[in-house]
């Protein structure tokens, strides 16, 4: 029993570390290739989410630049929805209207902040699996 008490916390810590390391590998191997043709221009944004989670990222986009947003998610999470809204919460784009595509390309006519909102669909299963969700931003070099 003592051994079990020891093993479970250790395994939980190790599983957390493994999950983190896997998110970085997931980002590099599965998400970065989707930015092809664009230069990544943000810092690292990847987290472990579970069904029902919602995450937001406020970003500044500059006038005259062409951007690509990539929202990559582990398949175990299902069709992760993402939308772009302005700071007044006015909807600009939802990937639901684009067959749940994981990328969105656009050009900015002037500088403004936009919010990328990511929603992981709820699951009606006994075990709620979690998985990495990564948001990447890239811009085109002129």
């Amino acid at each position: 029993m003592k051994l079990v008490r020891f093993i479970i916390p250790v395994m939980l810590v190790l599983s957390g570390l493994a999950a983190d390391a896997q998110c970085r590998a997931f980002t590099k191997n599965k998400c970065l290739p989707l930015l092809e043709g664009y230069v990544q221009n943000d810092n690292y944004n990847s987290a472990v989410l579970i069904p029902g989670d919602e995450a937001e990222l406020l970003l500044t986009f500059y006038a005259g630049k062409e951007y690509r947003i990539v929202v990559g998610s582990h398949p175990v999470l299902g069709d992760v929805e993402f939308e772009i809204v302005d700071t007044n919460d006015e909807m600009i784009y939802s990937n639901k209207t684009a067959d749940n595509k994981s990328t969105f390309d656009f050009k900015m006519s002037n500088t403004q902040q936009l919010i990328v909102r990511v929603r992981v669909p709820k699951q009606e299963t006994a075990i709620q699996h979690e998985g990495c969700v990564t948001v990447l931003v890239g811009s085109k070099e002129k």
Partner: protein, 297 residues
């Protein structure tokens, strides 16, 4: 709907670990995370919560790109000399200068300065080693840069990815405060470099400097998530000083419009503006120079 609350049942953690192990692409370069002593469980829980926060400001490469696009010349004299790397002994200075060297590396690579890029990468790697986060800048980067010396686009991609991966490594290996300091250092250096070119009177550059108000506000909000963390207090105080000057920048906002052109290009924009007086610009130039001098000394 819950927004990033991070208490998870054990079964989920085990399930996830098993599932993700299955989808690992076999990248064996993930270094063993350094252990961090003296972190109690409450502190760890707080750090884990911050790890889940999505936070982003434009990378230094974006400002370097604007300078290059506007036809400015590369000026090695404005960068933090790589010879200074041996001066940095505190964790704060090492982390901030890791960000500063990252921004200088971005600037050098944007201007196709191959040898300078290599020098700044080596300086950044030295700092990372001294901080015990060698894995943050993977050893193959110099080799990749060497192999792509004649391809500026490839170099820019390698440097951009390295900057992001550096932050990813730090966040995921319990060095999230260091990551915050690196991002702040990179942002401050990019702002400093841009202010070195304002004498040209370029309106676009001036506007871009004014627009840094958005990033600065986000950066300070992010630092606020750490509470009264002593490791971040000095940089946070300096950012707040800058914010006080940036309060003079005038911003307007308008309704966002979006449209899809005949070629399928999606365009987004509104009538928002950011502007500042000559006096405010001068204050920003002076203050960022003063703050930066303190960290690179």
């Amino acid at each position: 709907m819950r927004k990033l609350k991070w208490i998870k049942p054990a079964a989920v953690a085990f399930g996830f670990c098993a599932l993700l192990t299955a989808c690992d692409s076999g990248n064996s370069n993930n270094n063993v995370p350094p252990t961090q002593p003296n972190v109690d469980s409450l502190e760890r829980a707080k750090m884990e919560e911050i790890q889940k926060i999505f936070f982003s400001i434009p990378a230094p490469m974006e400002m370097a790109s604007l300078l290059k696009e506007n036809g400015y010349k590369y000026d090695a004299a404005v960068l933090n000399s790589t010879a200074n790397v041996t001066k940095y002994t505190s964790e704060e200075k090492r982390a901030v200068n890791l960000g500063i060297y990252g921004a200088d590396l971005s600037y050098a690579s944007m201007f196709d300065q191959k040898q300078e890029s290599m020098n700044y990468l080596a300086a950044a790697q030295k700092l990372a080693r001294e901080m015990g986060v060698d894995g943050a800048l993977q050893s193959d980067i110099i080799e990749r840069l060497n192999n792509n010396q004649d391809n500026r686009d490839s170099i820019i991609h390698i440097v951009s990815e390295a900057y992001s991966d550096l932050n990813g490594y730090l966040k995921e290996n319990d060095r999230i405060e260091v990551s915050a300091l690196v991002v702040a250092g990179g942002w401050m250096e990019a702002l400093y470099l841009s202010t070195r070119y304002t004498s040209s009177g370029n309106a676009e550059l001036r506007t871009r400097i004014a627009e840094q108000k958005y990033s600065l506000d986000e950066l300070i909000k992010y630092f606020g998530k750490f509470g009264d963390n002593a490791k971040l207090a000095g940089v946070k105080a300096d950012l707040v000083r800058l914010q006080e000057v940036y309060a003079e920048v005038e911003t307007t906002s308008g309704k966002t419009e979006s449209s899809k052109g005949a070629d399928g290009t999606f365009t987004i924009g509104n009538s928002s503006t950011s502007s500042m007086s000559d006096e405010t610009l001068k204050k920003i130039e002076t203050l960022i120079s003063e703050i930066r001098s303190k960290y690179i000394a």
